[in-house]
Amino acid sequence: MNASRNPQLGRDGSLQHLLTIEGLPGEIIKRILDTAAPFTEVAEREVKKVPLLRGKSVFNLFFENSTRTRTTFEIAAKRLSADVINLNINTSSTAKGETLLDTVDNLSAMQADMFVVRHAASGAPYLIAQHLAATGRDHIHVVNAGDGRHAHPTQGLLDMYTIRHYKKSFADLTVAIVGDVLHSRVARSQIHALATLGVPEIRVIAPQTLLPTAMERLGVRVFHDMRAGLRGVDVVMMLRLQNERMEGALLPSTQEYFKYFGLTREKLELAKPDAIVLHPGPMNRGVEIDSAVADGPHAVILPQVTFGIAVRMAVMSMLAGG
């Protein structure tokens, strides 16, 4: 693959794969959000389907379990009239690249049109896209549904759609991302998207042990005190505490985590009165977020899920339509 060219974009600059938000031009991000808007209306019809991907085969290739993400991709593809094939491939951490590409070759031979890939290894969707390009199968598209600690672009995009829905513009916002940034592919996608869309102040609130090094290089302000970090923010983006990714004791206990970094009503009062609270789900109630906040008037967590389907429909139809 030509290294100087963004591997996600075709020769004409159109979206060929969705692998990461990093490096994605702002116009493409805006185009995805604009395209998603009319798709939200499809869910309100008697027939919740449009014929854009009729006759296309979308393979959900999940090498790592995720019921929610897989389901939302499946619904999105089905509402576009695609045929959806779900493959939950439980692999050990020793899975080799060869196995992955063999799988891809086999499914390509079954006339796949799109792969939606979730993999524990960062870069797996890149590898697939690269392999498809190298073997002259440019007509097959890849969507990254979460790779390792690297990226989860559709989650980042649906978060941007949600923020734009409630705040209309990104131009004057202060946005705080709170929690386990170290293990979070969602946080990376969010930071790149917020920066590209022109959010003037992006804050990251986390304990030192859950922060990657050189966070400031991404253009964010780092806070270790949640109260200071939440002061005056328009948007609070909570992250899930990634229990399953914890290697070694990074935290004394979840109770202590909740005390310092859990979002409670009392802490949320430091944010702007019309602040919104996002969470990518699934939530750990009483660990990173209090139920009173999760079910409270500031939470837009369930609308995120609904918007997520429209955003994924937009991405898949933009890929298929070239």
Partner: protein, 169 residues
Amino acid sequence: MSAAATRLPDAETLLSTLAEAMRPRIAEGAALVGVHTGGVWLAERLHAMLGLTAPAGSIDVSFYRDDFGSRGLPGGMRRSAIPFAVDGAHIIIVDDVLHTGRTVRAAINELFDYGRPRRIELAVLVDRGGRELPIAPDYCALDFPLPAGRTVVLARSDDGKLALNICDE
């Protein structure tokens, strides 16, 4: 009128002609659905001129176009909005220019995803010929055959006045 003519009649006059053609035949309770963008402008005006009670709907047929595979989705798409029950409704699709008939085909398909209409009719300001599907208007203000490669475009000025222009496709 010959295809060579470059001057079109005034769009406002044509709109009045269209409204008068529809008035005697329009059923009680008929509902207009404008096709984005020109058709929506016309549907709004016709709705007021004809004193219809059912709210006018608007559709963007981009999700139903038959050239999606080659052209993809256009920019500037709108949400379709059908503010009445389609089941059993008498619907008049309103568009500015009728050409190949493919937009109307897409509009009919889209409407059926909202329910089963009792009847669908078609009202257009200009029929420029060049049909590729068996579709004909029920109401049309002007027959204006044009050669392939030429097109009629409806424009709306800031004060809401409509105008027709011929240009190359």
